[in-house]
Symmetry: C2
Subunit: 452 residues, 2 copies
């Protein structure tokens, strides 16, 4: 079937059926949909309706539906609608990484009650193991469910292992080969298992050269490694090489897209992770910090202008070029910093030195500064203020060069101090360059014009 698209009409039909407790219709409809599609429906109905729909599903499908809902949204829904017993039956069936993500959102008392009441004690152990790890490192992204075999076992035995694990492990791409100390030795892909004879031994078909990561590897790096080597799953080991879990590509993709969204919000000067449909207050709050910082920056620019008020009173045409200095500085700063941020996030093996970077940045800035300067210079003649030509021309070139410097150095410094450099491509650069641009302009203006 092609992917399902939820329409307003369909949603109304569902809501009406819920009102009328038309379970027959609803059960038949839900039967038709994938868990991800049912999750999309739950997002659109209210908490009580969602809870009702969920109860129409068998627990297994219900758990799959819930694992398709963002953990933050799930938290609210669960706290309002669910008893501890209900949650445990679902959490029992979650992949261990999803279970931990959810439990981490809940208050501690709640969390402990759920773990205590889990029917599957292995799942409880998995969860407790995983809770140690921060969310955004390999340990926090991995799931404990995987299929392990030992050297000496045969293909038939591998198949039996998979069968035993089949109810716990949703997706299997490979079985992992470990020694008696649980040290990871290699993998046998499912394709190899399918093609091998049933009595072949693991050591004759396993692949020794495999890529793995340590539990402490950052999520970014895990994503880069999986992408580089085209992996659908990557094993996670501890410092001794013991196999602890596996990270699946679908969890990493979510990580990649969330990170891209987050970077874009940072660039846009939004501090919290918000969405258009959050509350008015939350939206307003997420914007205020950078707006206020921007205002302080602009008020500092106002003070700079204040200092030069007598030259401005004498030559009032100078005011006309305040905007161009600020905005050109801001635009150049963002163009420069976004490329630096991009190249930092790519971690190409051999990076340019700071010196090489700056030489290049100045060359680019000179070319663009001259072009921009000429355009503005022509305008100066057109409006009949030829005296201002050199002031405007030289100021613009200086502003472009200074803004390029700022745009290069800020993300590098932030990166050094462990701050996400994407923040530097945002309002910080605009604000700083506004100030630098206007300051440079008035300094050049007062020195050139006072000489005349």
């Amino acid at each position: 079937m092609a992917a399902f698209e939820l329409t307003k009409e369909y949603l109304l039909a569902i809501e009406e059926a819920i009102e009328n407790r038309n379970t027959e219709y609803l059960t038949a409809e839900l039967e038709e949909h994938f868990p991800a599609d049912i999750a999309a429906i739950l997002y659109e109905v209210n908490g009580e309706q969602a809870h009702y729909l969920l109860q129409l599903l068998d627990t297994e499908k219900g758990a799959e539906v819930l694992s398709n809902i963002e953990k933050e949204d799930l938290k609210k829904f669960i706290k309002e609608q669910f008893t501890v017993e209900e949650i445990s039956t679902y959490v029992n069936l979650f992949d261990s990484d999803d279970a931990v993500d959810l439990l981490n959102q809940l208050p501690i008392e709640f969390r402990e009650k759920i773990i205590a009441s889990l029917e599957d004690r292995e799942q409880a152990r998995f969860i407790i193991d995983l809770m140690h790890y921060p969310e955004d490192v390999a340990g926090g992204l991995m799931q404990k469910e995987l299929v392990k075999v030992k050297m000496g076992q045969t293909v038939s035995e591998c198949v039996e292992e998979i069968r035993d694990q089949a109810e716990n492990v949703d997706k299997v791409y490979a079985v992992y080969v470990v020694d008696d100390h649980q040290i990871l030795k290699g993998i046998v892909s499912l394709k190899q298992l399918v093609l091998a004879r049933r009595n072949t031994r693991v050591e004759n078909i396993f692949e020794e050269d495999i890529v793995y990561v340590d539990t402490t590897k950052s999520g970014d790096e895990v994503a880069q490694i999986m992408q580089k080597y085209d992996l659908e799953a990557i094993p996670v080991v501890n410092a001794l090489g013991r196999l602890l879990g596996v990270i699946m590509i679908d969890d990493v993709i979510d990580f990649i897209t969330e990170k891209a969204e987050d970077d874009i919000q940072k660039m846009a000067g939004i501090t919290d992770d918000v969405e258009e449909d959050d509350s008015v207050w939350k939206l307003a709050k997420s914007r205020i910090p950078w707006l206020v910082i921007g205002v302080f920056g602009s008020l500092m620019a106002a003070s700079v202008i204040h200092q030069f008020e007598n030259i401005l009173a004498r030559i009032s045409a100078l005011a006309m070029f305040i905007p161009i200095m600020g905005s050109t500085g801001g635009n150049v700063g963002i163009q420069t910093s976004s490329l630096i941020v991009q190249s930092l996030s790519e971690k190409t093996p051999l990076e340019m030195s700071l010196g090489q970077r700056l030489v290049k940045v100045v060359q680019v800035a000179l070319i663009n500064g001259i072009i921009v300067g000429i355009v503005a210079g022509v305008y100066v003649y057109i409006i009949g203020e030829p005296d201002l030509f050199w002031v405007v021309f030289l100021s613009l070139i200086s502003v472009v060069i200074l803004a390029s410097f700022m745009g290069t150095i800020t993300p590098l410094v932030l990166e050094k101090f462990g701050v996400n450099p994407a923040i530097a491509s945002g309002p910080f650069i605009t604000t700083a360059n506004d100030l630098i641009g206007i300051g440079t302009y008035f300094l050049i203006a007062s020195s050139l014009l006072n000489l005349q």
Copy 2:
């Protein structure tokens, strides 16, 4: 092994070994590395050296290495270093989608010679089939290599199909079930194949409810669907439901990350797809269009200020608040538009109507406008220009509201006309809002101050 990291020292050793034609050392080293790592080395040495290294590998590994290199970079490398015969031996072994991506980069004469000289005639047919499709739709992302079985076949026969295809198909996650007319009927996952008895028939274990896409589906939508349903591969069919190919998750991830990078560059006002290590000219050129548009915008702002020169000559303190109007407008505009762009790209099933959006936007803007207005208002008193309080306060609130409107409407309009709305979060919004901000300010200033 943990992921390989290329160091300067190692690279020097490799380069020296190439100079000395130390094939023994080099062959041993290359043996140790994954194709993706060898590709990273080729990126750092010059074309001649890369060609030499490649010749030390067997053709199969060589082809894998080349398919890890960006097609645009590969184009230059191939044109400079390779004969048509050499390329064909590699292209022969590429996945069909990679082969087409590469050939599309080459001049037509070259392309035709390569296709004509391909040893594997099936590959040639695959390539010709795929060349019809634009790069960024499902047809352009799919590969033709896949394992097909028919109803009535047994698990043993499926395994034989996989064995037959094993040399062509690198990754197999499932076999696709088709009828006599090649219409896609379902899939059998490798896990099911492993667990099933050898004489079981396909119709008893195949999964009927699967998600597929049409060749014309956009790459974005394919990515969203694969992400939503956690798929590692998705079949592609034509309008009649005939199975034509399959899209692998690794190709889609590349698509997602490229798109995120592209959006960020659009937001930053960079027109071409550039990287920090591109040439100075290319970098300068990619920035000029938006810089010049920004300059024109600022010059229009200059003309606005020109119109109000007499009020400015009378009250020169007014110039101090030019920057705050421009930059607050710009910041608010970008904050607003980036959220709209984000919510557009998520295509949540039921979007808010324009009216709902605007009501919300105005509420948020009012809160933020009042806060920003008060901060600036306090400053006005501090510097001893209390006459300007209402001008600055009311202008800022108006600017925040107008900029929020602009930030909401621009991406929606662009989306309607099929333009990537990310462009609207960039310099366009800043430039437009600079202008609107300054215009509003002087209008309010002249009407309020002339009344006094």
